[in-house]
């Protein structure tokens, strides 16, 4: 058990180092002088271009040797200094991201958890009803094939424009300021529901397919065969198969995270929902490289935390992990 956790933590630390290094490396090793490229793209006002040039030279520290640039990058990181946003000048990147993160998590966590629960149950039902299965399976495959952003557009078009039930942009109405009241919470939820639905629906497909396949696989397992020779009721077999099939689905939570994040980013753009993904896209469209770097780091940290949580949950659920890595009993 300790070894299992140890290996995982090592991978996560290495991943973090790798990601930070990449974050540092790429602007420096791309063809051409990164500052010139950056400044030339920031061609709006000559005045700010000059400010940017001096700021960037200092920030990148290109006059120093590479290793000290690298060390400084890490030091700045631990001080929470992610640079200053160009697009939202002069706000620090960290502050911008702090504002955005609750919106992203507020969409992401409910959509992941609810789709996981609903999808797994649908999949388990499909695994034992052949007729339902043959109808549901194709639908689920096309749902997982749908780009999140397109499903968002579809929902926005039908529920937002044609039937005009929900607003399709922002996290709350322009006339309101964030505060705790029924009015605001209601307004917030109305804005939240469509982006939530587009994330929720696409994810259901994957979970349902995964669960269906896992249950079918479990039902072919030897322990099920043995239970059959003992003449137990179908109910017990189903219960066991479901419980064992759900375990890989927990690991799947971590594996799915990457695509969910991609979906999240684009969905936020479709609905102009002010989360990390929306900020990231604004950063890209405005060539705000510090903002992009900051978003990248935030996403990595979030993913690492999520992965670690999944590992802990999985360990609590599956005795095989607890004992097989623990060596002797």
């Amino acid at each position: 058990m300790k070894k299992y956790l140890g290996t995982k933590i090592l991978v996560y630390i290495l991943t973090f180092v790798f990601a930070v290094t990449l974050d540092w490396l790429i602007p420096r090793f791309m063809p051409g002088n990164p500052i010139l490229v950056l400044v030339s793209r920031f061609s709006g006002l000559p005045e700010s271009a000059r400010v940017m040039y001096s700021y960037l030279t200092k920030a990148f520290g290109l006059d120093q040797p590479l290793w000290s640039q690298y060390v400084n990058f890490w030091i700045a990181l631990f001080k929470g200094d992610l640079g200053i946003s160009i697009y939202l000048y002069p706000r620090p990147v960290l502050e911008v991201l702090k504002m955005a993160i609750p919106y992203s998590l507020g969409l992401m966590i409910p959509s992941i958890l609810l789709s996981w629960i609903v999808g797994n149950n649908l999949g388990a039902i499909a695994a034992r009803r052949k007729r339902l299965d043959s109808i549901m399976l194709p639908i689920m495959y096309f749902i997982t094939g749908a780009p999140y952003l397109w499903l968002g557009m579809l929902l926005a078009y039908f529920l937002g424009v044609v039937w005009d039930i929900f607003p399709i942009a922002g996290a709350y109405s322009f006339s309101l300021r964030p505060h705790l009241s029924w009015l605001f919470v209601g307004d917030f939820l109305k804005h939240w529901i469509l982006p939530f639905l587009s994330l929720f629906i696409v994810q259901i497909g994957g979970w349902a397919i995964g669960m269906r396949n896992m249950v079918i696989y479990e039902l072919e397992n030897n322990y099920v065969r043995y239970l059959e020779t003992l003449g137990v009721k179908r109910k017990l077999i189903r219960k066991y198969a479901f419980r064992n099939a759900i375990l890989p689905q927990v690991t799947g939570l971590a594996l799915q995270l990457g695509t969910v994040i991609a979906g999240q980013v684009t969905t936020e753009v479709v609905f102009s929902y002010p989360g990390i993904g929306y900020i990231l896209t604004q950063g890209i469209l405005n060539q705000d490289y510090f903002l992009i770097q900051g978003c990248f780091l935030f996403i990595i940290i979030g993913v690492l935390i999520a992965n670690f949580t999944v590992d802990l949950v999985y360990m609590a659920l599956d005795p095989r992990i607890r004992f097989s890595y623990g060596g002797e009993v």
Partner: protein
């Protein structure tokens, strides 16, 4: 006691039926251990499994099975549930992963019993006694299968399968996954279930005929889905009459070799395809005594009291 008459179990495939068990008749008396031997693919495992758990792609194509003079509805999955576990049980070949890996063994047993409508408390004493019988400590009940060694898991399955004192116990290749030193112990342990009166009859399926000499009362040899020879252990050991039995015995491998093709290194040729097998005797292609008559279905020959063979070349009292 078990009586099997003309049992046919075929696998349905696209190309036709694979006749894994074809017109097999035999019986096992009370207090008797029948050894069932043959190469892999001869249908012995299909026969053993088909008696208790017949499901696709395995299909029932005829024949009758009686256990203690009651007919077993082996082709009715649901109705068979009344007999499984309580009247007949199997120690499967895959005994080492037959337990639910994510349930503590004690909980597992409790849930299985409850699912069969049996109060687990009423059987607790028996369970503990049986654990002692197979040399397992009581604390295994609080463990997960992964914490047990392969041999311990197998013994746990033995306890499980015999918990309700079934009339018939089928042991399917129980020695094949074990090292030589534990093979004998397990064989004797299984024989012990019968000797202690826990089960009445036993079918012991193995590819290793030498194991049977020590524990079996009678031996049945199968070849290509059919019975080749049945006799008391003594008769088979000292007077094998079917050419296949003879060759099987002379090609006896060193103890512990597991793979069928290893065993049969002494017999030239391969067993026939069981998909649309040739007519007549199925061993003829490999038989040194082959004659014209072998193209016809071989007759049953009563060699001596309780000793029969299906072969043209065997004569009474040969």
């Amino acid at each position: 006691m078990l009586e099997v008459e003309g049992l046919k179990l075929y696998y349905k495939t696209l190309k036709g039926h694979v006749k894994a068990v074809d017109d097999v008749s035999f019986d096992v008396n009370d207090g008797e251990l029948l050894g069932l031997a043959g190469e892999s693919g001869c249908g012995k495992s299909t026969l053993g499994n088909g008696l208790i758990l017949l499901k696709p792609p395995m299909n029932y194509f005829g024949g009758m099975v009686q256990l203690d003079h009651t007919q077993l509805p082996i082709d009715d999955f649901e109705r068979m549930n009344d007999f499984r576990f309580s009247k007949l049980s199997i120690i499967p070949q895959y005994a080492m992963d037959a337990l639910n890996p994510t349930r503590k063994i004690g909980v597992y047993i409790r849930e299985v019993l409850q699912s069969r409508g049996i109060d687990p408390e009423s059987i607790m004493d028996k369970l503990l006694e049986r654990l002692k019988f197979v040399n397992l400590p009581e604390r295994v009940l609080k463990m997960y299968p992964i914490e047990l060694s392969g041999g311990m898991k197998q013994r746990m399955v033995m306890v499980m399968s015999t918990l309700l004192n079934p009339s018939l116990l089928i042991a399917d290749e129980v020695t094949s996954a074990l090292d030589v030193s534990s093979q004998k112990a397990v064989c004797l342990m299984i024989k012990g279930f019968k000797d202690a009166g826990i089960v009445k009859s036993l079918i012991f399926i193995t590819h290793d005929i030498s194991v049977l000499y020590q524990i079996a009362d009678r031996i049945m040899i199968m070849y290509a889905g059919k019975v080749a020879e049945i006799g008391k252990t003594q008769q088979i050991a000292s007077n094998p009459v079917h050419p296949y039995t003879k060759m099987l015995m002379f090609s006896l491998p060193e103890v512990g070799i597991r793979y069928a093709h290893g065993i049969l290194s002494g017999i030239p040729g391969q067993p026939p395809q069981l998909l649309n097998p040739p007519t007549g005797c199925l061993f003829k292609e490999r038989c040194p005594l082959r004659g014209k008559e072998c193209d016809e279905e071989p007759p049953v020959v009563n060699v001596e009291e309780g000793h029969i063979a299906y072969c043209w070349k065997v004569t009474q009292n040969a």
